[in-house]
C-alpha cells in the first residue's frame, strides 16, 4: 500500500515539475560553484554570468529540448560536500549534466559518481592536469596549469633570461605550476636558482621577496591563489623594489580581471601568460562582452566567465547530439575533437584527453583609454595542449 502511495506521490511530483509544451524535454544541468564566500567574486558570479550570457545569446532551447540550469553553492574546497551536492543533483534533481567546479579536490570527489552514473561533467575551472582523466565523462573548458605555465617559461627563455626563482603557494596547483615552469625552463638551458613554497595562510610576503632580492636572479615566477594572497604578493613585489633591482615578474593568473583593478598602478607592466584577457581583440569577444554587459553593466569579463560561456556551448552541443536524452557516452563522443571560435580565440576539445587545447597569450598590464587596467596581449602561443602529460608529474 505504501509503495503505491509513494509511487503516486512521485508521479504527481514529476507531473508538477515538467514544464514547457507537451513533448518537450527539459534537460537539467547542475552547476556547482562558489556562489557565496570568498571565491564568489572571482569564480561563482562569473560562472553564472557566463552561462546566462550564453543563454541570452542563444536562447534556452536546443531542438525540442529546453535546457535548464540549476545552481548549487559550495563555498570552498570541500570534497564531502561536493560529492553530496553532485549526488543530490543526479539522484534527486535528475540532472543530465554537471558543470562548474573550481577546486581540484571537489572535482576528484565527483569523479567516481560521474563515472558510475555516466553523467558528463563540464569543468569550468579546476586546473590540475590529472583531474580530467578521473572520469571518462569529464570535459574541461578552462585550462590546465602546465598549459599556461610552459609558454611563460618559453617566453622568459626567448627574452634571454637565464636564471629564475620559483615562488609558489604550497598547495596542489602551486606545486603543479612550479614543476611545469622549472622543467621547461631548465630544458631550455635556464637555471632555477631556488624553489620557494609559501604556506597558504601567509599574509606577510615581505620576507620571501627579500630573500629573492638577496639571491639576485634575473626573474621570479610566482603562483598564488586569487584574492588576498595575490594582492599581497604583488604589493610586496613593488614595495620591495624588485623591479628596480632587475628581477622580472613572471606569472599566469595573478592579473586576472576580477582582481586587476584592486591591484592598482603597481600592477602596470607586469607580464603574465594566460588563456583569456577581457581586452582580447576579436569580434567574438566583443559580442560576448557586449552581451555580458547587457545582462549586468557591472560584470567583468574574466577567464572564469569565458570558461563558463564555452562550457555552456559544449553542453548545448551535447544536448543536440543526444536530442535531449540522457546518454553520457554519446554526448561526450559528440564533443570530442570539436573545434570552435570562442571569445578567447580558437579552441578544440582534445579527442583523447577531453581537455581543452587553446591559444595562450603573453600579456602586459597597461592602462587603456579610460584609465582602467587591462591585460594587453602581445604574443600568441598557438594551440597549447595540456603539458602536464608530456612533462610528467
Amino acid at each position: 500500500m505504501k509503495t503505491v502511495m509513494r509511487k503516486a506521490m512521485v508521479a504527481a511530483a514529476a507531473l508538477c515539475l515538467s514544464t514547457g509544451a507537451v513533448g518537450a524535454e527539459v534537460v537539467k544541468v547542475g552547476v556547482i560553484g562558489p556562489f557565496s564566500g570568498p571565491f564568489a567574486g572571482a569564480f561563482g558570479t562569473p560562472f553564472r554570468q557566463g552561462v546566462e550570457t550564453y543563454v541570452a545569446m542563444h536562447g534556452n532551447k536546443v531542438g525540442d529540448a529546453e535546457v535548464q540550469f540549476i545552481y548549487r553553492d559550495i563555498a570552498g574546497p570541500d570534497p564531502q560536500k561536493a560529492r553530496s551536492l553532485a549526488q543530490e543533483l543526479v539522484v534527486k534533481d535528475k540532472v543530465q549534466y554537471l558543470a562548474g567546479v573550481v577546486f581540484t579536490p571537489n572535482a576528484m570527489a565527483i569523479a567516481p559518481l560521474s563515472q558510475s552514473a555516466k553523467v558528463p561533467m563540464v569543468i569550468f575551472n579546476a586546473s590540475t592536469s590529472v583531474v580530467v582523466s578521473k572520469s571518462d565523462y569529464f570535459v574541461r573548458t578552462s585550462n590546465t596549469l602546465p598549459q599556461v605555465t610552459v609558454p611563460v617559461a618559453k617566453y622568459a627563455l626567448d627574452q634571454g633570461i637565464k636564471s629564475a626563482i620559483t615562488i609558489v603557494s604550497d598547495y596542489g596547483p602551486g606545486i603543479d605550476a612550479e614543476k611545469a615552469f622549472s622543467k621547461t625552463f631548465e630544458q631550455g638551458g635556464g637555471k632555477i636558482v631556488d624553489s620557494i613554497r609559501m604556506p597558504l595562510s601567509t599574509t606577510d610576503f615581505g620576507p620571501f621577496l627579500q630573500k629573492i632580492r638577496a639571491a639576485e636572479p634575473e626573474s621570479l615566477f610566482a603562483f598564488l591563489p586569487f584574492g588576498p594572497p595575490t594582492y599581497g604578493f604583488v604589493k610586496a613585489y613593488n614595495d620591495n623594489a624588485l623591479e628596480q633591482a632587475g628581477i622580472k615578474f613572471l606569472g599566469t593568473a595573478e592579473t586576472q580581471e576580477s582582481d586587476l583593478q584592486a591591484l592598482g598602478d603597481g600592477a602596470v607592466g607586469l607580464e603574465t601568460a594566460y588563456f583569456y584577457s577581457g581586452a582580447h581583440d576579436s569580434p567574438e569577444n566583443k559580442a560576448f562582452v557586449d552581451a555580458l554587459k547587457k545582462l549586468d553593466p557591472n560584470a567583468i569579463a574574466n577567464p572564469a566567465t569565458v570558461s563558463a560561456f564555452d562550457g555552456a556551448h559544449v553542453i548545448y552541443k551535447m544536448v543536440e547530439a543526444t536530442a535531449g536524452k540522457a546518454d553520457g557516452p554519446k554526448a561526450v563522443d559528440a564533443v570530442k575533437g570539436m573545434s570552435w571560435e570562442s571569445p578567447r580565440g580558437p579552441v578544440t576539445i582534445d579527442a583523447g584527453t577531453r581537455d581543452i587545447v587553446q591559444n595562450v597569450y603573453m600579456r602586459r598590464v597597461e592602462k587603456d583609454a579610460d584609465g582602467k587596467l587591462v591585460n594587453r596581449e602581445f604574443k600568441i602561443y598557438e594551440a597549447q595542449p595540456d603539458y602536464g602529460l608530456t612533462l610528467g608529474e
Binding site: 564566500g37 570568498p38 564568489a40 567574486g41 604550497d170 620557494i196 613554497r197 609559501m198 604556506p199 595562510s201 601567509t202 599574509t203 606577510d204 615581505g206 620576507p207 620571501f208 627579500q210 630573500k211 632580492r213 638577496a214 584574492g227 588576498p228 594582492y231 599581497g232 604589493k235 614595495d239 620591495n240 623594489a241 576580477s258 582582481d259 584592486a262 592598482g264
Partner: protein, 287 residues
C-alpha cells in the same frame, strides 16, 4: 648577518601590527574576563570606516584613520551596554558563543553592504615610497607602523601608570570587588576600557591593512592570530601583548626566511610551547 637584520626588521614590523590589533583585546579580556572573539570585527570596521570617510568626506587619510578609530570606539559603547554586560561572569563557553554570533553578524553586515572583495586602504602620499638602507629596501609604511606601535605602547603605559583612569583600570583588573569597595565605579571603567580596546583594534586594522587585507571574513580569518597573541602574552598585560606579538611575529618571519614550508606550523608550535610552560601567558596573572 644581513639575514638576521632582515629577519629582525620584518619581524618587528609584522609584530607591531599584531600588537596594535591585539592589545585592545588583552585589555578588555583582562578587565572584564570576557573571551571576546568578536574583537576582529572592530579592527575590520576601523578599516571600512576609514575608507568610507576618505571617499565620502574627502578627508586626509591620517585624519580619517583617527576619526574611524574614535567612531568604532563610540560604536562599542552600546554594544558593551546591551550585549557584553550580560555575559560578565557567565561561563566561558557562553561568552565564546555570544561573541562568535557577533562575528557572524558583523561579517554578514559588512559583506552585504560592501560585497565580497578586498578593500584597499588609501595610503598618504609620503608613505608610498621605500627607503634604501644599504643591503635592502624597507617600505616606508612599515616604519610608520613600527613608530605607531611604539607610540601606542608608550601612550598606554602613560595612561595606565600615570592617570587616574589607568589606576582604576589596573585596580579593576587585579581585584574588581576590592576596587568597588573602594568606590571605583567598575562598570564605568569597563565601559571606557572596552571603548579604548575597540578604538585600538580599529587603529590596528587600519595600520595593518597592508599585511592583513580588509575583507568581510577578516574577523574570522585572523581570529586565531589575535587570540594567540593575547593568550601567549597574558590577559590584561599590555607589555605582555607587546612581547608576545614581537616573539610570535619574529618566529614566523624567521621561519619564512629559513624554512618557509613550515612557517605556520612554527607559529602554532611556539604558541603551544609557551603556553605549556606558562599557562597564564608570559606576563599573565594567576586568577
Amino acid at each position: 648577518m644581513e639575514l638576521i637584520f632582515s629577519i629582525l626588521i620584518d619581524g618587528l614590523a609584522y609584530g607591531m601590527v599584531l600588537f596594535i590589533i591585539s592589545v585592545g583585546l588583552s585589555i578588555t579580556m583582562g578587565l572584564m574576563r570576557v573571551v571576546n572573539l568578536a574583537h576582529g570585527v572592530f579592527a575590520m570596521l576601523g578599516g571600512f570606516f576609514m575608507v568610507a570617510i576618505v571617499s565620502r568626506l574627502g578627508l586626509r587619510p591620517e585624519l580619517a584613520a583617527l576619526l574611524a578609530a574614535i567612531g568604532v570606539g563610540m560604536l562599542a559603547l552600546p554594544m558593551e551596554k546591551l550585549l557584553f554586560r550580560k555575559v560578565y561572569g557567565r561561563s566561558e563557553l557562553q561568552q565564546v558563543l555570544l561573541t562568535i554570533g557577533l562575528v557572524f553578524i558583523g561579517i554578514a553586515a559588512v559583506g552585504t553592504v560592501f560585497g565580497n572583495s578586498l578593500l584597499a586602504v588609501p595610503l598618504p602620499e609620503y608613505l608610498r615610497r621605500s627607503v634604501d638602507i644599504g643591503f635592502r629596501v624597507v617600505p616606508l609604511h612599515r616604519l610608520a607602523v613600527v613608530a605607531a606601535g611604539l607610540v601606542v605602547l608608550c601612550g598606554l603605559w602613560l595612561l595606565l601608570a600615570k592617570t587616574r583612569f589607568g589606576i582604576n583600570i589596573r585596580a579593576a583588573v587585579d581585584k574588581a570587588k576590592a576596587a568597588e569597595a573602594l568606590g571605583i565605579d567598575t562598570s564605568r571603567v569597563y565601559q571606557l576600557g572596552f571603548m579604548l580596546g575597540a578604538a585600538l583594534a580599529a587603529l590596528g586594522g587600519i595600520l595593518g591593512a597592508e599585511l592583513l587585507p580588509l575583507e568581510p571574513y577578516y574577523p574570522l580569518k585572523y581570529l586565531v592570530l589575535v587570540l594567540a597573541i593575547v593568550a601567549v602574552g597574558g590577559m590584561g598585560s599590555v607589555f605582555g601583548s607587546f612581547i608576545a606579538a614581537l616573539v610570535l611575529g619574529t618566529v614566523e618571519t624567521a621561519a619564512k626566511y629559513l624554512m618557509p614550508e613550515i612557517a605556520s606550523i612554527m607559529f602554532y608550535l611556539t604558541m603551544l610551547v609557551v603556553l605549556s610552560w606558562r599557562p597564564h601567558g608570559l606576563f599573565g596573572r594567576q586568577l
